[in-house]
């Protein structure tokens, strides 16, 4: 387990800091040179009763579960803002602490009901996609993996392009919060194919990605409902023995969301379907596959008992193919419970347990390349995680 020096520094500052400031302000706030700085460092531990999950060798316990973030924002005028976040992680076989630009943007907010953001921007999909890699922003260590799989943080966490957004008050009818975006995704292709794959990856592009989210803040205080949709296409070229095969994978995703958050209670539920199709230029090497529809859903409840304690649970369902729900690999049901301890305003510790039924969310390459249907159908996960942040 490696720790970057500044990860350790963040942890020490957070544990000892007496004040409750939410940011580090560099410079006089009225100066053009002043900047808001925020950071976090997370370290987790995963232990499974059987099946390796998210990382290598979790059946013996794994510390391959680290995340670091450092961001800077600056208001240039009362309508114009710049921001960027550096991010590094080591989760299973991905990341290895390679620092990347998690997001960066120029944001012009003309009115509350209309703003424009360009750059690399987190994708607003569902209630929590934008915080899938931010431990301090949520109760569970793992968001329901049926809708927010950790591996998606490499593909569907942020897009490079533009976004229109706004907030519109409707008087007694509440308010609307909306986003519409379009752009592309640049993906680190180094982890897309396993070392044992028979193919070489010639190219990988996302010619388009577009989508939006519309949330209605209802007149019932704390209750918001809405939906998100997204369409993208993956263009892949695989090479085997000098023969190239071009594959186009159009994908459409949507999710319906509802959240009640008031006082110390949080209730959330989402239902989603994803549609994936394969179109290949070489039917012998890679035949077309008909559209595969997956079904995903969860319900979550949480309660904050006091300043330092919050507890919650969720039940999540994943069916990777609605036409083949039978068998261990046809589903993954996940019953999870979490306890979060806020040691001080900058440091938290979480303990989380999962009871899994099904293997659909597992990865063969982490399990000796065995087919998912042969893995242990009922299994458990214990997660411990600590995060320092400001």
């Amino acid at each position: 387990m490696r720790f970057a020096r500044w990860q350790m520094a963040t942890l020490v500052v957070a544990m000892l800091a007496p004040s409750s400031a939410l940011a580090l302000q560099l410079g006089d706030p009225d100066s053009l040179l002043s900047i808001d700085v925020h950071a976090f460092a997370s370290q987790g531990f995963i232990l499974t009763t059987s099946n390796n999950y998210l990382a290598n060798d979790t059946t013996h316990g794994s510390f391959q579960f680290s995340e670091l973030g450092l961001n800077f924002t600056k208001d240039l005028t009362d309508r114009l803002r710049l921001g960027l976040q550096l991010f590094a992680e080591d989760i299973g076989p991905t990341g290895s602490y390679n620092a990347t630009l998690d997001w960066f943007y120029v944001d012009y907010r003309w009115k509350d009901w209309l703003g424009l953001r360009v750059g690399r921007v987190k994708i607003p999909f569902g209630l929590y996609n934008e915080v899938n890699d931010i431990d301090s922003a949520r109760l569970p260590v793992l968001l329901p993996q049926s809708i927010y799989p950790l591996e998606n943080t490499h593909y569907l966490l942020a897009q490079t392009g533009g976004e229109l957004y706004g907030y519109l008050r409707l008087g007694a009818a509440g308010a609307l919060d909306y986003h519409a975006y379009a752009g592309t995704i640049f993906i680190d292709t180094s982890t897309l194919l396993s070392s044992t794959s028979a193919f070489d990856l010639g190219s990988f592009n996302v010619p388009y990605l577009a989508g939006g989210r519309l949330m209605w803040e209802t007149p019932v205080e704390g209750l918001r409902v809405g939906g998100s949709g997204q369409a993208l296409r993956l263009d892949v070229t695989l090479v085997e023995g000098g023969t190239s095969t071009a594959i186009q994978v159009p994908v459409v995703l949507w999710v319906a969301s509802a959240e009640y958050s008031a006082h110390d209670v949080l209730l959330a539920a989402e239902y989603s379907r994803w549609y994936v199709t394969d179109n290949s230029s070489n039917q012998a090497l890679s035949p077309d596959r008909p559209q595969v529809t997956s079904e995903r859903a969860y319900g979550m409840a949480a309660y904050r008992e006091n300043k330092w304690l919050q507890t919650g649970a969720y039940f999540s369902m994943l069916f990777p193919d609605v036409t083949e729900r039978a068998g261990p690999a046809g589903r993954q049901n996940d019953l999870a419970a979490t306890v979060r301890f806020d040691i001080n305003p900058f440091w938290l510790v979480k303990v989380e347990g999962h009871y899994m039924f099904g293997t659909a969310g597992l990865v063969s390459s982490l399990n000796d390349n065995l087919p998912l249907s042969s893995l242990q159908e009922r299994w458990g996960v214990l997660l411990l995680k600590t995060t320092a942040y400001f």
């Binding site: 004040s19 409750s20 925020h38 961001n71 907010r109 987190k122 907030y167 205080e221 919050q310």
Partner: protein
Amino acid sequence: MALLLVVLQTSGTAWPQSRASAGYLIIVNPHNPESEIDRSFLEGVFLKKITRWPTDEVIRPAELTESAPSRRKFSQDVLVRSVEAVKGYWQQRIFSGRDVPPPEFATNQEVVNYVLKYDGAIGCVSSDANLDGVKLLTIK
């Protein structure tokens, strides 16, 4: 009048709030033409969903630190969630790059000084704050 007071008291937080009962006060710059503020508008201001006054002046909210009793009362009454839940909301906003929270100050006087500095500023202070120079808003 007595019957109206009983109805207001039994229906949860009563608006408009009197200085004595709320435990906190909402203050604005003396150049601000507003004299009262809707609770849902106030909530939107402190969650930075609403960023401009009707005059198009940018709104600059400021508050006390999270341990202040008046801050905690304000959070439950106006934002309808605990300070910790609001902090979670800001963590989402900060680390998704959407926004940063309002500045926090340790004392009422620092909040007052901030409000006096900016025409569009609005602050939440405890009910025993010295309001010399700032304007008091009623929550309707």
